[in-house]
Amino acid sequence: MQSTQQKHTPVSANAIELTGIAKQFPGVVANDSINLSVAEGEIHAICGENGAGKSTLMKILYGMLAPDEGTIRVNGEKAVLNSPTDAIALGIGMVHQHFMLADHLTVLENVIIGAEPMRSLGRIDFTAGRDHFRKISKAYGLDVEPDDFVDDLDIGQRQRVEIIKVLYRGANILILDEPTAVLVPQEVEELFQNIRELKAAGCTVLFIAHKLNEILEIADVITVLRQARLVGTVTPSEVTAKELAEMMIGPKFSTQRPILRSVVGKAEPRNTAAALPVESGETVLGGENGPLDGNERLHRRRVEGGETVLTVENLRLVDESRVVVDSVNLTVHRGEIVGIAGVEGNGQSELIEAILGTRQIASGGIFLLDQNITHTSVRHRREAGLGCIPQDRHREGLLLSSPLWENTALGHQTEAPYSKWKLLSPTNMRSRAQEVCKKFDVRSSGVDNTAHVLSGGNQQKLIVGREMIAEPEMLIAAHPTRGIDVGAQSAVWNEILKAKSWGLATLLVSADLEELIGLSDMLLVMLRGRFVARLNPARLTSRELGAYMTGAAIHAKSNC
């Protein structure tokens, strides 16, 4: 990949100099030969989609992860960082996205904890600590009262405490991990003011973010990562938000996905790699799949006047006094796939949690067929025909240490054939599990295996299978193919389309733009908790969709 460094300043002037950093996790390349220079006193934004490798890179810089390859130089000196302690010793501090503060201690106590100034006889010198605290707070314009309890602070103040904590330990290079993700707009303004003062005082700031307008506002230099690689380093004056969005999302069409097209049978929209060969093994899927017959894109044939299965009315969700979803209206019809696109953290997860019933709603209504399910339990919703492929299969989908035959029953344990009169039928559970494994091609040596033993793709097929075999009315599919191999991916797509053909209503949330465009009949774009665009996937490229998602190309189409 080209790395368009603007000007190669001499090594000594750079606060941070990363060369050839590479990091692999089992099955995933997180960082691939990344070169990054950050000049002293610079505000340097690192941006990219989720999974682009930003966090991994920052963790390497903070000593939380060791790189497989590459060197790190701090202030021109080669550094080996085995732990955050080493990083702190070199003046690197990190403010995590999730604050690490003790609520029932004061601000001062939180700041000095682990680095307490001591008096004789092992007593803590609070006076010295407070003086030093005030000096920092004044020098950098970080306004917090040292003797307040953290419990009483708002989010913005807590963040300032975290920053002071880092400065107190002598850091002059600060890594801020998505600092704006938890803030409301006014707080973002205050944070930016703080960051500018830090810069004025000579600190170097590394700023991880994916909100384009914020990046363009605050950064001196922007580095964009995509799929573990560095795609470019630019200054805000050189790029527009739209160009930046394109750098982040990239020409995905050209490289990865012949399969989705073969499953969906959709013509490649405009340019790029329409000519890419489809490998022979991967086209097999089309054979038995009804919707693929002929040239007609049958799957797009919206069941006209189809019965409304799911209705969400004026939904508002609040998370610790922060509005995360607001005025959301949504309908999904029988045989329809509605896709929700959006950069992660814009309210999609919260929305599906509310529909599933695991999250309390602030106001609004949710209806499944003719039932008002706004305030009913998850179990009631499931029994009423709501299926769910959760976004994180390990955390939300599986009992990893339990056998497969218990996993296939999870979510449906109250229903036939798994149980009757509240009594389980292990025989039926086992035979149903065997059926799921057979029908949905879950490869394992038997249903007594634990879910742990399966590969990611097979785990996902198991989840898809158990939901589909229950013949739901409505399916929530959250990132249904995230992190699984291409074979399993096309199997999952195939199942979703097959279910659609027998009339399943599906709500698809995904970060995979091509998946969204390829599967959905209608696309809604979510930004800061609201639907900001309603798009026809038949006339859309992922590049255009990406621009909508980052808010760079909102023509403010009305709410739907």
Partner: protein
């Protein structure tokens, strides 16, 4: 089998370490063990052991219901003692036909236990109070507070009436007591010595064990319980109501805990001023040793009861001090934790190997 090897290995390890302790303290371990096993060979001692198995087994089941859903009910101790006292008092107030009277007493005991632990469950669900904290607090309230006060309040005639000067609550009428199993036992063995009964609560405990097994493995509730224990988030997404499951588990756990004092009450008929203590805490060890499994916990209870009861001989033969069994019990618990960890590691490695194979195919 890997599953059985862990507890057996743990006991073996504990015996080895105990021998070391015995040698260091200047005793002959082989002699001490021989004395204990020889003592346990006597019918009377065996009856004593079984009578101790009963409350320990119930206590183990009570703890294990919590463990199934990752709840640590440390309050079994307070729950059973308070339940014991209240049931003794209520039972002494009235006379009913035999079966009804016994049933009433058992129900009162279960209700008191369930109420106390249910309180901890509710506190956890609505206020987020960790159940370890609340049950420890409730233990103090129940034992040092309520029981200490009520035992005086409900004391029978200054407690001088009974032989041996034992002080306690008003005795329950015979209709409220369970007959012993001596007649049944003596059909197979010789006559038991005087003043020694095989208590019939043993049968009720076994029944509770069977019901526990059925509840956990064969009902939707049991599935919910286990699912929430293995992965609470996935269980919630799978429709398991998290709060209700916690409260119900605590109620059942406390209900069973309420029965722990019943073997004593059902045979003596009153709450003494010095009831057997620590059965609740030992129950945690029993559940740990038995892997929350119905049969496993029975063996766990048997081992602890054996150590408790066979050690009295050591005072007489003076081949070792009696306190060695406390050390052994401690060592067993420690060894069990280590052994299960080792087995878990081995299993993880096997699974990793399996997973690799599955990836390849």
């Amino acid at each position: 089998m890997l599953t059985a090897s862990a507890p057996l290995g743990a006991v073996g390890l504990a015996v080895a370490f105990s021998s070391l302790v015995l040698i260091i303290s200047g005793s002959n371990p082989i002699e001490a063990y021989r004395d204990m096993l020889g003592h346990a060979g006597k019918l009377e001692v065996q009856v004593d052991i079984l009578n101790r198995v009963t409350p320990l087994y119930l206590s183990g089941i009570a703890a294990s219901i919590g463990f199934r859903v990752n709840l640590f009910n440390i309050g079994v101790e307070g729950q059973y003692i308070l339940a014991f006292l209240v049931a003794a008092h209520v039972g002494s107030l009235l006379t009913l036909p035999p079966v009804l009277h016994v049933t009433l007493i058992l129900l009162v005991a279960m209700t008191v236990g369930a109420a106390l632990s249910g309180l901890a469950g509710v506190l956890k669900v609505i206020r987020g109070v960790h159940e370890v904290i609340s049950t420890i607090m409730l233990n103090a309230i129940a034992i040092s507070g309520l029981v200490a006060w009520l035992v005086v309040e409900w004391q029978a005639d200054g407690g001088t009436r009974r032989t041996g000067g034992r002080v306690g609550t008003e005795p329950i009428a015979d209709s409220g007591l369970l007959p012993d199993l001596n007649g049944f036992l003596e059909m197979f063995t010789r006559d038991l010595g005087q003043g020694r009964q095989l208590e019939s609560m043993l049968l009720i405990a076994v029944a509770v064990g069977v019901i526990y097994h059925f509840l956990v493995n064969r009902t939707v509730f049991g599935f919910d319980l286990r699912a929430a224990g293995v992965n609470p988030t996935a269980a919630h997404v799978g429709g398991v109501p998290p709060k209700r499951t916690i409260v119900t588990a605590m109620l059942i756990s406390g209900g069973v805990a309420g029965l722990v004092g019943m073997p004593e009450l059902m045979s003596t008929g009153y709450f003494p001023s010095n009831p057997v203590l620590n059965l609740g805490f030992t129950g945690i060890a029993v559940a740990l040793l038995g892997r929350n499994h119905t049969v496993g916990m029975f063996f766990g209870a048997l081992i602890f009861a054996f150590l408790d009861k066979s050690s009295s001989i050591l005072q007489i033969t003076s081949s070792a001090t009696r306190e060695i069994v406390v050390i052994m019990q401690g060592l067993i618990v420690l060894a069990v934790v280590v052994a299960y960890q080792v087995v878990a590691q081995i299993r993880k490695r096997q699974e990793a190997a399996m997973a690799m194979l599955n990836q390849l195919t």
